[in-house]
Point group: C2
DNA sequence: CAGTATCCTGAACGATACTG
DNA sequence: CAGTATCGTTCAGGATACTG
């Protein structure tokens, strides 16, 4: 049981954490959401070792989060770029909520303010808990229910 | 710089991932949201080694996510329980979005359906991106803006 | 504390393109 | 057709973290 112990756990949170909790995975997805898509650019942005990046990208491709797309600049040889799939793009909510939380509760002096906006309007968007009928619920009023233990 | 390389990064997402990305931290917070608060119960639920749990709990206390509260059952010696602070409870949004995403995109046969509900009504709540005026935005229509580059 | 697994650093390797 | 540069990947090591 070396690394990801709860990978096939019945708990969805555990499975999601296994992916995002991998050392670099979250940062890769974050950069991909910024538009980064080339191997060399990920290396430059993250300072990640290349073989580790290879492993992480392969894992993300295997998980259906990213896809490997061949391209060729006119004079050059064939290269690959790595783009988020629709599935991967949906991680925006998760990363936004993590970022919002950290910005509010893990402040740092020169705190940057990277944030998500609605593409069409430029309006700032934040992660929130909403009911199926669109009502916003404060995190404090939310409760985690696990099916294993009754009620 | 062994483990958490981007801990003091200007990017809030990086700081948040440094915490939740730690091998066990997210699972500990998840169990805390379920009401677990005793050292032995965390060990039993997670199968984590005790010294590692100690380190993680200390880190969470240092980050202001959990607090260490003394208690004493009548015949017994002084013990400590670990409870989420208000700051820590706000991680519910992040964990809910991770769980929602994994449930939808990382399916597994006997997939459990742990989920968040509004405590008062029992209504299911999900993580979503909302504008400041309460409009819900699809993740696909969201865009990550980093202050470093213009705009 | 002992044994094992994982990670990171640095370097080497095949593959492709441009050069002369 | 060699000679060189770049890219993406893989290999070898030392350090670190986890489990029991």
């Amino acid at each position: 049981m070396p690394k990801t112990s709860h990978a096939t756990s019945g708990c969805a949170i555990a499975r999601g954490l296994d992916l995002l909790g991998e050392r670099w995975t979250g940062m890769i997805v974050r950069d991909a959401l910024r538009g980064i898509d080339r191997f060399a650019d990920f290396v430059a942005e993250l300072g990640i070792a290349q073989d580790v990046l290879t492993k992480r990208l392969n894992a993300l491709v295997a998980a259906g989060v990213m896809e490997r797309i061949p391209y060729q600049e006119d004079g050059s040889r064939m290269r690959y770029r790595y783009a988020l799939t629709p599935t991967g793009r949906q991680l925006a909510t998760a990363l936004a909520s993590i970022g919002d939380w950290a910005a509010a509760h893990l402040p740092v002096d020169g705190g940057s303010t990277s944030h998500f906006v609605e593409a069409a309007t430029g309006q700032r968007v934040r992660a929130a808990l909403v009911t199926d009928d669109g009502r916003i619920v404060a995190p404090v009023d939310a409760q985690l229910v696990v099916p294993s233990a009754g009620s």
